[in-house]
Amino acid sequence: MPWFFLALPLTMYLVWVVFPVLQSLLFSLTSRDSIMYGEKKFIGFSNFIRLFQDPQFLLALKNNLIWLIFFVALPIPLGLGIAMFFDQDLPGSRIYKTLFYVPMTLSFAVIGTIWAWIYHPDFGVLNTFLRAIGWSSAAKQWLGDRRYMTIALVIVGVWRQVPYVMILYLAGLKNVPEELIEASMIDGASWGQKFRRIIIPLLGPATTIAVTISIIDSLRAFDIVYVMTNTKARAAEVLSSYMYSSAFFYQDYGYGSAIAVIQFVITLGFIMVYVNNSLKNEVQR
């Protein structure tokens, strides 16, 4: 009987997700022509060897690492802090949460456009502000100088990610029973102790989710890079944009698949943490 219900979802999932994943693994071991012209020609790990000698790939890898570090270091504490701040039973507090969430509902196409104006070297708000406070030397060509490009793009991603992390923590805070906090009051716990001993451990599951999701999102970064650099500015390349141009501009499917597989391998560990975490909670219930 379960198969009656699973037939449709499972079939669709196999066709569009599971099978393609296996195919990509296979493609990464074949030469460029073999996919285009149909005759399978296996070239072993040549694509991967080529990747690690390719400076553009190494740059994309390094940039993606910057994305990853920033996506954990900034949105997690900021999202937690803002969630705890807004989590009050005061009239109107929901309006604050709603407004703060708005960036999450915008598309990267929209976000990228707006931030390109903020970063505009001459009349963007960022440089104008820096000049106004007398710090002209800090006003850079944010999207024109290869040294600052990646950081500028990451900040845009972080701006959108913080509201998401806030929502995950707001959901997590709902699971923190108020009686527990009140009990700690009676024991005379200070605010710092309360935060360390009660809130942090109880938010552990929410934190695991938020960190895992942020890491996975950082590795999926594509839209911002595509919209804000039009993939022309290759200094800001990330793995997904390099994969896209290898596959769809240069038609090098084997090489593009190899890049995807590298991303897959990096993500795999975090996927396992997430799956493990989900199933562990299961047992407790």
Binding site: F5, S24, T105, A109, V110, G112, W117, T267
Partner: protein, 291 residues
């Protein structure tokens, strides 16, 4: 009441102190929100300026001297936003409904039947929702090309549904797990069929979590850029995100048109969020949080 004296971990407060704390909350709350939404204010300002003002004043952050709301009508009609928005609806609505309904079938199976493959299938769905989408790009493109599904709405809708099944199934299954088993068992003893139980008991009980899920799915699919880029390569088919991304190149100087178009494009997901936000956080608590 978090700002009660107990919860703040202080000695009992006077009413005056409590009022002060509340005032501080509203002050800093407003400040945080205003600062965070600066980019959105800039977009609104820019959308209502004339091109002359943008080029002459060079202050993209300042409110317009004169608010020109006809820019919106112009973007809607002349720049083709109306057409792109319509395309986005054509893609998004069936995709959201389809993924919710089809996932609810799978979720029902995984939540209420114990069978050997239950856990492996669940893990496949969870892993699939986290996979880098680059792993799917080339095979899905080639599959769509070979089957003639490329450049059709059917093709991208079917793909969106399939790709979102991982998250939706996982999310709904977690919710359904919390439904007391007796609600399922009782009608079964009375001789009700399983599909009847799914249709008449489980589905109605899952409405709130499906509403939360609908908000997320609508936002994700509406805002999708990559798959439209790959699967819809004709301009007349393009969704609004893709249309806007391309406008950046074409109308490079028409900042006000791009801004007005961006704001129009952001309204549908915003409305969906506002309509369903009541369910949103509580729905997530059950779904993603139990994750």
């Amino acid at each position: 009441m978090k700002y009660s004296d107990k919860a703040m971990g202080m000695k009992p407060m006077s009413i005056k102190q409590r009022k002060l704390l509340q005032l501080l909350f509203y002050f800093f709350g407003t400040l945080i929100v205003l600062l965070w939404l600066i980019p959105i204010f800039i977009a609104i300002f820019t959308s209502a300026k004339s091109m002359d003002e943008i080029m002459v004043s060079k202050m993209m952050w300042a409110p317009p001297h004169q608010w020109i709301f006809s820019n919106y009508a112009k973007a809607w009609k002349n720049v083709g936003i109306a057409h792109y928005v319509m395309n986005s609806f054509i893609v998004t609505i069936p995709s959201v409904i389809g993924s919710l309904l089809i996932a609810s079938l799978g979720a029902f199976a995984l939540a209420f039947y114990s069978f050997k493959a239950n856990k492996p299938i669940l893990i496949t769905f969870i892993a699939g929702m986290l996979i880098p989408f680059q792993m799917l790009m080339i095979p899905v493109y080639r599959f769509s090309d070979a089957t003639g599904l490329i450049n059709t709405y059917t093709g991208i809708i079917l793909f969106h549904i399939a790709f979102q099944l991982g998250f939706c199934t996982f999310f709904l299954r977690n919710f359904m797990k919390q439904i007391p088993f007796s609600l399922i068992e009782a009608p079964r003893i009375d001789g009700a069929g399983d599909f009847f139980i799914y249709r008449k008991i489980v589905l109605p009980l899952s409405i709130s979590s499906m509403a939360a899920l609908a908000v997320l799915e609508f936002t994700w699919i509406w805002n999708d850029l990559l798959w439209s880029l790959i699967l819809l390569q004709q301009d007349k088919l393009k969704t609004v995100t893709l249309g806007l991304a391309n406008m950046q190149g074409e109308f490079i100087t028409n900042y006000n048109m791009v801004a007005a178009g961006s704001i129009i494009a952001s309204i549908p997901p915003l409305i969906v969020f506002l309509l369903f936000q009541r369910y949103f956080i509580s729905g997530l608590t059950v779904g993603a949080e139990k994750a």
